[in-house]
């Protein structure tokens, strides 16, 4: 597919935008029609949190998928996916701040200090903030190589986010462990790929030194 001119939004992006909004629309529909059970506020938090992790996994899978299948067109959708991950994380946090605690700042402060799963959840969101801010083309250009280094933080967010989930559940840790395994695999892929690349890059030089 040929890339279109900058500033124009292709049909692919419109479709992806709509797709990314489907979970939120579904959650909103369930809320509006009283399908979230007896404790809807808790369900809103759980659902938006889970979708944050799911979208994060999809975002991180973009590069391995591109390399494996040679689907280079995926690159231009990665930013949309990343920003939607941040969007769901922010909705998740807003539920906690504005609905669960109804802006009781003092109580929320205590929660953050006393409960480590809240602290690590908050940390996860804070890690994502600079990534969202520097997601624009301007920032990518301005930061150059440092942009790539900065955006490796997304793996830190994946791990802290999943630990947040793990610590939040009482006993049935099956799904948090599944998410943790998925992120570990995605991270392992990147580490192995990077090592291979640096190995390939260093090979000619070492070959040259042997010849000399």
């Amino acid at each position: 597919m040929r890339s279109r001119g900058r500033g124009r939004v292709g049909w692919g992006k419109i479709a992806l935008f709509s797709l990314c909004l489907v979970p939120l629309a579904y959650i909103a529909w369930k809320f509006a029609t009283d399908r979230l059970g007896a404790n809807p506020i808790r369900e809103l938090e759980i659902e938006t949190g889970l979708w944050t992790l799911r979208l994060l996994a999809v975002t991180l899978a973009a590069t391995p998928v591109r390399r494996t299948f040679g689907w280079n067109w995926i690159t231009k959708y990665r930013r949309v996916l990343g920003l939607f991950t941040f969007f769901y994380a922010s909705v998740h946090l807003s539920m906690w701040v504005g609905v669960d605690w109804f802006f009781a700042w003092g109580d929320m402060g205590e929660e953050i200090v006393k409960h480590k799963y809240i602290l690590i959840g908050m940390t996860t969101w804070l890690i994502m903030v600079p990534l969202a801010i520097t997601s624009t083309t301007g920032w990518v250009r301005r930061l150059g190589k440092r942009w790539t280094a900065l955006h490796r933080l997304v793996y830190a967010a994946a791990i802290t986010g999943t630990v947040h989930y793990l610590w939040a559940v009482k006993k049935d840790t099956f799904f948090p462990v599944v998410y943790l395994a998925v992120f570990a695999m995605l991270l392992a892929y990147r580490v192995i790929a990077a090592r291979r690349r640096s190995h390939r890059a260093s090979t000619p030089r070492s070959a040259a030194s042997v010849a000399a």
Binding site: D107, H115, K171
Partner: protein, 306 residues
């Protein structure tokens, strides 16, 4: 041979719930007061309803109480117990009473409850997960049952055991918790007038997802003390184990008294969300039953004995 079966249909079952609600609360309060049961006025007021000064505490709806349950034997999601407990067999049901008692026996459920008049008790229910409800239970004060078993003076604690039936309880086929579920109370807690052996809800037979046919309710303790589907009651001289403490001793203790001062590592215990309400509310010491039960723990360090 004539075997008298318990009445299947109680008058309350054919009363519309809405009308029943107000009438029943009135009758319950009046009944308790008029019956002259050997309870103090403070106990009676605790039974009739939560103390004044707070926002009106109306009982939660039948749908809320029967659709949002922690009952890991039937699954870990709140909706699982309602979905998975439909075929659970509560008859025939036997309760084994053993240990330090003069009258150990295997009681048929019907024989166990027959001698008593069922009482209606509207209690606050506070889950350790920081949500709460107001629930109109129906049951028998445990103190009266205990009297009948004639515990020996050496009996200091009561241990309760849930049925082990992995063929009927899908959760028991997974090692989420050590099965069967066990719970315990100190003798003075077990015989406290507020402690109830529950057989009904809203005047109807207790639904399976709420712990049928027989469950414990100790309204000043976190919900997990309210062991469900009880099949054994043992009188012992040492503090018995309870399942959540075995599973996670840093987070759950033996006493599990509702205490806004002592936080759980995961959930704040200072406030709670009443199911059906938007705003959180402050959690009360002993779940608002301090006047009735605080004396049980006089001189104890509640931070250590959580």
């Amino acid at each position: 041979m004539l075997i008298k079966k318990p009445d299947d249909v109680r008058p309350s079952e054919i009363t519309p719930e809405r009308g029943y609600l107000s009438r029943r609360t009135f009758l319950a309060a009046a009944g308790v007061a008029a019956a002259g049961v050997a309870v103090s006025g403070r106990i009676a007021s605790a039974i009739g309803g939560p103390p004044g000064g707070r926002q009106a505490e109306r009982p939660n709806t039948w749908e809320e109480i029967t659709g949002y349950n922690n009952y890991y034997e039937f699954g870990t999601d709140k909706e699982d117990p309602a979905a998975n407990s439909g075929k659970f067999r509560t008859r025939p049901w036997t309760v084994k009473v053993d240990g330090l008692v003069k009258k150990p026996a295997d009681y048929h459920f019907e024989d166990l409850v027959k001698p008593y008049k069922l009482e209606d008790r509207v209690y606050r229910f506070r889950c350790v997960e920081a949500w709460s409800m107001v629930i109109p239970w129906q049951g028998i004060p445990l103190a009266e049952m205990v009297k009948r078993f004639e515990p020996l003076p050496s009996a200091k604690y009561v241990q309760f055991t849930t049925i082990y039936a992995p063929d009927q309880m899908p959760g028991q086929r997974e090692r989420i918790l050590p099965w069967p579920y066990v719970e315990g109370l100190r003798m003075d807690e077990a015989t406290h007038p507020l402690t109830l052996m529950v057989t009904g809800l809203y005047g109807k037979t207790l639904p399976n997802q709420n712990g049928a046919p027989l469950r414990l309710i100790v309204p000043w303790k976190y919900g997990f003390k309210g062991i469900k589907a009880i099949t054994r009651i043992s009188f012992v001289d040492k503090q018995p184990a309870n399942t959540w403490q075995i599973a996670n001793p840093d987070e759950y203790g033996f006493y599990a008294n509702v205490n806004p001062e002592v936080d759980h590592p995961r959930w704040t215990q200072a406030s709670e969300r009443r199911i059906g309400q938007f705003r959180r509310q402050k959690t009360l010491m002993f779940n608002g039953y301090a006047d009735q039960v605080a004396s049980l723990y006089a001189g104890m360090d509640l931070r250590k004995n959580f």
